[in-house]
Symmetry: C2
Subunit: 441 residues, 2 copies
């Protein structure tokens, strides 16, 4: 038998699972604070859904199969098609704006490599039905809030923001023909992948040099301030003025929402996918070696492409793998040990049924309670309690028969006292959890 | 485009997702109270893993496919093979007992029907490394605790318990040859599927009538009390005496663990799968029409079969579909509406940036906070707050500029008061959640 998971797939033992749940809880907590509602879709969809959005080329990146009815199906490689499909199916009845998030498992048939597995989880947030920059600002602020929630400040990660129409307008002013803008975006999206500017320039100039030389484009990307970009955009007709005004308002909203410290304008951010139409953004660890930890943008045409009504939309996603690597690299991953509230110890085998009764009563009060399956010496049971990270031990001994009492020992402080067992059975305050310094009010 | 999920697959809109999360939270809460640790494995495994456990026949029930490396893979149809594989891979280093649970998505290539979908979620609990009846009792008590946690009492659901070795011993005493016991178990597992006893008897007698007539078997199953079964078993040699003693201790432990009110002995429970070796149990809604809401048993030989060391094991699983139907049938499904803690309203468009700043401050305190993307009359914004289930509204008006104050309105009681905004920014106690009558201490 193969004792391992298939290549690129992960087993989550308790230690790894605690990290997953810690991350998922943070995703969920921040999403709810921002008044997003959780949804989910099926683990596989009709293969056509992905072809429709991304073209035939996508098929080689998917795990696809047929069911016995001959339907072509594929394990989901991303959530946006599912979410857009679900939105389209109820577009007429859902009150706008629709703010949805998912915490979803998905698979891609990639060659496994660092930060890129065949199976991963993704936090995916989408806002439908609002075209203005307030929706964009709220999404970016939510991403910033998540980073802050998991302990990553603006010195650790920044969010780079640009706008497809702004970039297109500036590129076209440099000479890129409108019909070649999509190709130019693809090149720019891969800019950081080249070893040197010279390599990028050779590639760009071979295909786009007749429109605009790479050297000029690089100077534009790297040397033009946000204000200069906006001013140039404002002079590029009515559409340019509208885009620039939206970007100015986006900046104001990000400031009011307390996210400005994470954000900076960066014309190099264009995102690879063809369907983005407006604001685009990516979060990058300042360590730099890793890929973007999150990315997204406005895609006002996708819902219609997938068969729904015209619907403005913006969304972003964060995967679990890259952010986990970044946290480890910065030594910010939380240390999450197993922990029990109480470990019940029997000092006398004859009292074991009484100990079990106390176990059940405490569990009914939602305390995490352990005990030993084997009858053993009290000292051995204390060791087991410590090994399981128990905060309190309760020793059920002859005192129970004599006075209805048991010894409660705080395993952190060593403090010990007698407590009436009848009180423990109905009132777990004796085992109040340690105040969590990270918990909210 | 196909606007729907593939057949047998579900879309979880916010309303359905709230139910899923409510159920998953209950599964997780009870598991943790019982000191089980959460794990997970990959969504697909090597196809061989399932063949090894269940034989070639299983393949037709799976969604299987090849990756580009030619590996035969299948979406997981159950968790036990994955969990047993993970246990086997670390069997030598994990301290015993190992108590693991999963809340896992899985798929079976079934014809979709009521309570049986192609994709479902399952709570799966396994205990490894403990052969005695205490592990069995704790698992059954955990199942009972979950039922109680979701509002189902012993009048709604009971847990029927039997033992493979006990049933084998009694059937063999009736004349069933040892090598035909597995076939007899298969027949018994399907007993309730027949329209009448006569239909069952015809089927049984055709294959097993030469060993023991169906009529005698039915009488044994239905008319023999637990005590009579145990007494007969005790007289069937050393092994019989051991089984009977374990069952008596199981009963005592279930009593001490406060689960006895849910439990009853039922010789008809044998479970379909071949690999069970000892205690077997199923939870059934008393309404009766539905299949078992949960089931499991002891399988002391499976880890070894899958390539690990000999390891006693017991586990059970509960799917999300049947329990959801039962809750709906009994009108016990919770009513879970969207709810926000606070809705921030601007009484004056000029104050909107201040309103946004307050939104951000409250969200940082982990409150769920909504606001309108569109600037609108205060009355309209109050309507939006109510539509989103907000508990409080905060109206940011001229009072802010004049006195640093805002109006806080409790949307449940209608009570309204002025509050210093500086206080709200750092102290969310003004919006303390309503006490949840179901919450623990």
């Amino acid at each position: 038998m193969k004792m391992q998971a298939p290549p690129g797939m992960r087993d989550f033992y308790p230690e790894e699972m605690r990290f997953q749940n810690w991350l998922f809880d943070a995703w969920r907590r921040v999403s709810r604070a921002f008044a997003f509602e959780e949804i989910d879709g099926p683990i596989f969809e009709h293969l056509d859904l992905y072809k429709k959005k991304s073209g035939e080329g996508i098929v080689s990146e998917l795990f696809s199969f047929q069911d016995r009815g001959g339907r072509e199906l594929a394990i989901r490689p991303e959530m946006t098609p599912t979410v857009a499909r679900m939105l389209a199916a109820r577009a007429s009845s859902l009150p706008r704006p629709v703010k949805w998030f998912t915490i979803a498992r998905m698979c891609r048939a990639e060659k496994p490599q660092r930060g890129r597995l065949r199976e991963f989880f993704q936090w995916n947030c989408e806002t439908f039905g609002e075209a203005g920059p307030l929706a964009d600002a709220e999404q970016i602020a939510m991403l910033a809030a998540l980073l802050r929630e998991i302990g990553l400040g603006p010195d650790d990660v920044n969010i780079r923001i640009s706008h497809r129409a702004l970039a297109a307008s500036l590129l076209q002013a440099e000479g890129v023909r409108p019909e070649r803008t999509a190709l130019a975006f693809q090149k720019l999206d891969r800019l950081e992948k080249w070893d040197s500017d010279a390599d990028f320039a050779r590639d760009w100039n071979a295909q786009l040099g007749a429109d605009a030389r790479a050297e000029r484009v690089l100077a534009l990307l790297r040397e033009t301030s946000e204000e200069a970009c906006l001013t140039r955009c404002e002079s590029a007709g009515e559409e340019g003025a509208r885009v620039a005004a939206d970007l100015r308002r986006l900046r104001e909203h990000l400031d009011a929402l307390g996210a400005a410290d994470y954000c900076r304008f960066d014309l190099r951010i264009v995102r690879g996918l063809a369907y983005y139409t407006g604001t685009v953004f990516e979060a990058h660890g300042r360590a730099g070696e890793l890929r973007a930890v999150a990315g997204g943008g406005r895609y006002d045409e996708l819902v219609e492409l997938l068969g729904g009504p015209a619907t403005p939309a913006i969304g972003f996603a964060m995967g679990d793998c890259v952010i986990a690597e970044l946290l480890r690299e910065l030594d910010r991953a939380p240390r999450l040990a197993e922990s029990l509230d109480v470990y019940v110890i029997d000092a006398d085998e004859a009292l074991f049924p009484d100990a079990l009764r106390l176990v059940a009563d405490l569990r009914r009060q939602r305390l995490a309670v352990g005990f030993s399956y084997k009858r053993a010496a009290v000292s051995k049971q204390f060791k087991l309690a410590a090994a399981r990270g128990a905060r309190f031990a309760v020793v059920v001994g002859q005192e129970l028969r004599a006075a209805g009492q048991a010894q409660v020992k705080d395993l952190t402080t060593g403090e010990q006292r007698s407590v009436r067992v009848a009180d423990l059975r109905t009132d777990a305050r004796a085992f109040a959890p340690r105040p969590d310094p990270k918990a909210g009010p």
